[in-house]
Structure formats: C-alpha cells, structure tokens
Symmetry: C2
Subunit: 115 residues, 2 copies
Amino acid sequence: MPGRGVRFSPTHRYGAPMTGFRHVVLITWIEGTTTAQVEEVAARLRDLPAVIPAIRDYSLGTNAGVNAGGADFAIVADFADRDAYATYRDDPVHRAVVDDMKPLIASRTAIQYEL
Amino acid sequence: MPGRGVRFSPTHRYGAPMTGFRHVVLITWIEGTTTAQVEEVAARLRDLPAVIPAIRDYSLGTNAGVNAGGADFAIVADFADRDAYATYRDDPVHRAVVDDMKPLIASRTAIQYEL
C-alpha cells in the first residue's frame, strides 16, 4: 500500500529515501482556557508556514476526545534538517506567538527527532 | 512548494483533501533505562505496521538533543480515521508491547487528533 510504512516523513514517497527533522509539542491548557483563546493561538500558528519558509509541513490538532487524560493541543512540525528547525524556533514571529501562548500553558512536553 | 503547508497528513498530496487521524505519544524513560532497552522497544514497535494494517504511517524517534528538557521518545502514528486508531490501540500485539514498555516509562503524554 503506497504511503503506508514506518518512519515515513509527511512528504515521503514510497520507496524514496526518507530524511527530515520533526518537532513535536503537546500542550495542556490551564483551567479556564476558552475555545476562543485556543482558536486564536491556532490561527496565529497556522499563519507561520507562510512567513517561515523553513517549515516543510505543519500540523495542529486539538484532542479528539477518544481517550481520557490526554494533552489538549498538538503541534507537529517538519523541517529539512535541524538547522531549519532552529530557524523556525528562533524566528521572531514564532517567538511572539510562543510568548503569548505561555500564560495559557499548564504543561508542555516536546521532542525533536530525525525522521 | 509541493508538500509544504498546514495540517497536511503524511500521505497528503498538495491540493488534495486532507483527512486522517493522528496519535502522538511522548515518553520519558525512567532513570537507568539503557539504549539496548530502548532499541528493543523501538524494534518491536517498528514491526507493528506489518501486523496491524490499520496503521497508515508510523514514525518513531529518539530525542535529537537539540533542546534541554524534552521527552526521550516519540511515536507518531497516522490512521484513516478514529476507528482505525482504535483497532491499533486495542490490537493484542500492540498491547503486549505497551505492557512490556510500561516498567520503563517515567512519564507519558499522548493526544489523538483529526488531521
């Protein structure tokens, strides 16, 4: 089945070499965070690929409610390599969104890994 | 740029409708967990797409060491929909790996979201 397999990057084609660098963030919002606040954050994040070309793929999601006890919000961002990730991480437009998100964050877990 | 954008699923083609369901797990191992133990877990997880056809894409990663304080290990698994995810979640081969991982896990954060 094309497109199905292990360690595929989002732009991977079946049988092609797979490379890239992935950044994953899982966030739990503080009690009282509103849907409107989350939507505003999501909208600002969603704009980042247009202003930070280092981003190859960008996926945002809110907990679908299948299991109890999960995080509230996810960011999965893919880059060509770790330098491209660092460009995103340190971009001032991104930093501004991060700074504005911070007061809403109860807990944050992140990882970066080679695809 | 084909393949670059927002909320693309791993099998998404540029301009095509994007659907799917993503499961993300970030794990921190207990102090003293060895590379060999992590490799064994990763090898068993890596075998799952071959035995659980519900898995569309499966990505495993260990922390690349770019930032301090991140999780140790990531699983990003994509499915056609939430039912396919539930099939994976409840598959006995998967459950056996999860049960054997549990003693190594200091903390685990997960989310499921619509792509």
